[in-house]
Symmetry: C2
Subunit: 195 residues, 2 copies
């Protein structure tokens, strides 16, 4: 039954989904009305066509500028620097941050061959040089690689005369922004300290 095998193989490629889970999901979908698989197929099919990077902050968006950058009520003088676009979702959930973002698209990781040129730090420097930015909050994950990345961002941005701060260690060290609860993230932003 190759239609089933096709779907099981594709589902099993996803993280945290093994072959048994993929088989269960497939049988589940076969018991639902066909519209459910179709809607999921449609959402998947259009995903990568519709989503691109924000020209300013590299957040994910369907327009040239993302929802945060194009919102004039946001305070563009405070830039929160995160590793991935998914971290923005985590910070936005807290409802506590009124500034804007900059997505690095990764973290320094010499072992994985990720160096400074693979991140969007140059674009961040260009944003600061262009003016209007008073503070850069470095919200990379409090892990070894995130800390190294934070230091690198500080070295590049601090000489430009803006305040560079680091989120407080309200978060458990070794944790992931993406998994933290909103209160913890909010605390770590409000208790940020200058680097």
């Amino acid at each position: 039954m190759s239609a089933i095998d096709d779907l099981v193989n594709e589902l099993a490629r996803l993280p945290t989904i093994g072959r048994k889970s993929a088989l269960r999901l497939t049988y589940h979908l076969l018991k639902q009305p066909p519209e459910q698989s179709k809607r999921l197929a449609e959402a998947l099919g259009t995903l990568t066509d519709r989503i691109r990077s924000c020209e300013r902050c590299f957040n994910l968006t369907e327009d040239p500028l993302c929802a945060v950058c194009s919102d004039t009520r946001r305070d563009a003088s405070v830039v929160c620097v995160v590793e991935e676009a998914s971290d923005i979702t985590a910070v936005e959930r807290t409802g506590e941050f009124r500034g804007v973002y900059h997505v690095l698209r990764g973290r320094l990781s010499p072992l994985d061959g990720v160096g400074p040129d693979d991140l969007t730090v140059a674009a961040l420097v260009a944003r600061v040089v262009a003016g209007g930015v008073k503070e850069v909050i470095v919200a990379t994950n409090p892990k070894l690689e995130g800390e190294a990345t934070a230091l690198y961002v500080q070295e590049q941005v601090a000489p430009l005369g803006v305040i560079v701060s680091r989120i407080a260690r309200g978060m458990p060290v070794g944790g992931d922004l993406e998994y933290a609860d909103g209160v913890t993230i909010a605390q770590s932003i409000s208790a940020r300290r200058e680097m």
Copy 2:
């Protein structure tokens, strides 16, 4: 970002996938080449178009008869009765069973409003009446509802003069065929006893 929300909503409908997992899977797909989402969309989109029920045993198939029913090397005189088509996959994995199947499409469950008419027992009776069947192995799950279903199948089929047997309790009671290992399933088939 409605393209992301669309996919997260659809993924979160699936069993064992919550909103956080759905979000992680979506961001994962956005980091992969677009072809991966497209292939998954294609597999999902064609799934319900291509898959239907076997006319004889109600297994899932892309043809009028399923792979087991159309295989002339299978012993059509021994019919293994299972609750769901996914249980066939579990039994086939053992490589020990050379007969054919009959999928009940569920189990008796008065609390969920599932009665005898919601199962395919009448079609099983018709298969036995049509002749050629010597033994019916009832391989419903060894849980309360599966046992009740097994008794009902026995009541309907035994008067027709065929042997009705029940898989042995080699499996842990309360377990699921779908999760059992092949050796356990094989033992429970070879140690089956007449009902």
